[in-house]
Amino acid sequence: MANIKLENLTKRFGENTVVDRVNIEIPNGTLVSILGPSGCGKTTLLRMIAGFETPDEGSIFFDQDSVVNVPANKRNIGMVFQSYALFPHMTVEENVAYGLQQRKLSKEEIDARVKQVIDTVHMKEFQKRKPKQLSGGQQQRVALARALAISPRLLLLDECLSALDKKLRVEMQTELRKILEESKVTTFFVTHDQEEAMTLSDFIVVMNKGIIEQMGTPLEVYEKPKNKFVASFLGKANFFQSEDGTSFAVRPEKIHLSAEEQAGARQEGVITFITYSGNITSYTIECDGEAVLCEKQNVQIRENLKKGQKVFLRWDKDSEIELADE
């Protein structure tokens, strides 16, 4: 476990700058999500930290030590790839023991540690199996156990849940969070699923085209996104222009709808689309040719608003998010 600091980290592939002057500093034991669209450089960033790619510029510090010139096998970093990359010719046990065997520990120490980690991920009954005899979720656990077994200074998880189906993914998120909190290991978690980032992390780093758009707690990033990209990538947002030409965003759940005209109404429009999804109902409202999305918690069972109906929109001044760009 360590404080991790990335300083001006830059990677180019030919003309293409894939990671562009990235600065991140995270304290010991934090879980950081790196969130961004496909191709924005998330994997490349992790691969530089792991030592599989050499940065063109910048440094990586674990505590006070620069590790840029340390080879991957000396960095003591646990890693889980999206493909898991379990060793196919080894059993679950052997996979988990592999990293420990490289550390010249005694057989007893290795056995004890393997047993402990396999118990943590609930894979005891499968420990004699080969990877291809396991389901996706089970393979994911083994990959995690193998990375945790070496007690890494840092854990790097690259979209390790995205191959799982929705239900299993949600289960694994909760379990992962529990395991990581117990082991207190500093973790970078790459995902392009914003919900997953919110659920799992202490901090969220939002990346786009190789740069960091914003970094903060899930609450900060959701409630105070700095620009249009962050606002729309993390959750849903409606964008408006104020009279002075600056733009702001309002989250769909912060908009109140009413059929009657009321004081402080900001917009009026016609409902063009209604989606009922159990806990919430979403309304698309056409206001001056712009579609505005509004979400209501279904606290009571009530269907008072109909498609084609005229409605008035209201929101608190606090709910307006000022945006830096455009």
Binding site: A72, N73, R75, A85, Y98, G99
Partner: protein
Amino acid sequence: MRKYFTDQLIPTVYALMALAFLYTPIIVLMVMGFNESRYNTLPFSFSLEWYSALAKNEVLINAAINSFVLALITALICVVLATMFVLGMKTLSRSMEGLFRSLIMMPMSIPWLILALSMLLFIRFLDLDKNMFFVVAGHVVISLPYAMLSLQARIQALDPALEEMSASLGASALSTFRRITVPALAPAIVAGGFLAFMISFDNFAISYFLIPAGTSTLPIEIQSSIKFGFTPEINAISTVIIGVSLLCLAIVGLIMGSSIENMIGGKKK
């Protein structure tokens, strides 16, 4: 009816004829080894005479041993070289890799006779005597492409993430090679070695041109015994060779089919 005739019957008859053409001579050769007649003629009367003669024929037995040892050494060298080459080629640029591969594969498309002749001329040119070293070198040149073919297919299927993962778990390059790369390549190494063995064991031209006087291999011995009168001992030894080849093939198939394939996590089953 007509459709049945054109779609099924004719292809089946063709296939059977092709198979007959392939296997009848081999079967006749094997059967005649058990026939009493010295001149491979009918009527057939069962006898193990030629096998007992073979057991006493030291010339043929020594030649067989030579061939076996030669093929074994060739196969071992080919397997090591092929593994080194395919791993090394990963680090080359694409065009260099293509060039390198073509150079190694070339002997497949040059007639062995020409290869053998050029090697002989080269030895003459250097004013050296023929020796076993050149024979082995010649055999390696012609067998290596086959070992490479089998390894290349495998290495292309090897997930580079496995080696990276091994490094991130603390393994040195050597340790990764030993514990991850080699086991993943094992079936291809075995298969490639076996192919190289067969090519070498079978080879006549290279051996014939390069072998020092007084030494011989089985193909050379068989060729010369045909010259000096063909006895069914040749049928007998051929049958033994076929038997051993089939046995090897069965063993390799067994290893590759289940355990190795299983060990490296192949897709079967």
